[in-house]
Point group: C2
Chain length 114, copies 2
């Protein structure tokens, strides 16, 4: 399953957003998502499975619970694909590198520390 297929679902995107704040148990995620989307516990569990099986999330059992955490690598790949277009829509990003170099030169000359 391609990264963008995984990200194509609003529930999964929401779960990832929640996980971005830190680890969450399946139950916490289910409660939040049920509230917003009005779907059942198994529905959420299936989305968690998709996230797991595609490497977007990892699980770690803690007692009774299963704690989920976001895995950023696949998100990075998606971002990388979009990045091939980014040079054009955000040209100032290229300029950043230049800015840094100029800033360093300026500081060297003025003797600014820190």
């Amino acid at each position: 399953m391609h990264a963008f297929d995984v990200l194509g679902d609003p529930v999964r995107r929401r779960i990832l957003e929640l996980l971005n704040d830190g680890e969450r148990s399946a139950g916490e995620l289910t409660a939040a998502v049920r509230e917003e989307f009005g779907i059942s516990q198994p529905a959420v569990s299936q989305h968690l499975r998709v996230l797991r099986e595609n490497g977007f999330a990892t699980v770690r059992p803690e007692g009774n619970r299963r704690l989920y955490a976001v895995e950023r690598a696949p998100l990075g790949e998606a971002e990388e694909w979009l990045g091939r277009f980014a040079e054009r829509w955000r040209p100032h990003l290229d300029a950043l590198e230049t800015e840094i170099a100029r800033g360093r030169r300026a500081r060297r000359r003025s003797g600014e520390q820190q």
Copy 2:
């Protein structure tokens, strides 16, 4: 239709990649995509419609042809969403902003022009 739903299709992603190199006629896109995915002309045309209607591409008629161009704004929105996770996987991007600010201060003080 959400940005990631549009990007969820491999044919549409390929079309965007092709458009990233510059304007292409519907016919050129159709030829390339038919080759790679083995789908019909109407199938490609429908994908072009999705890209148009969701703001990922614009068209401009030229004689008989219709020339497509990529529109980067919605790609930027998708990238922005991913960016909320990026702070963690690419922390140096945050540092860039700081660098710029520091560079500007340094230049102001040293009186560097241009």
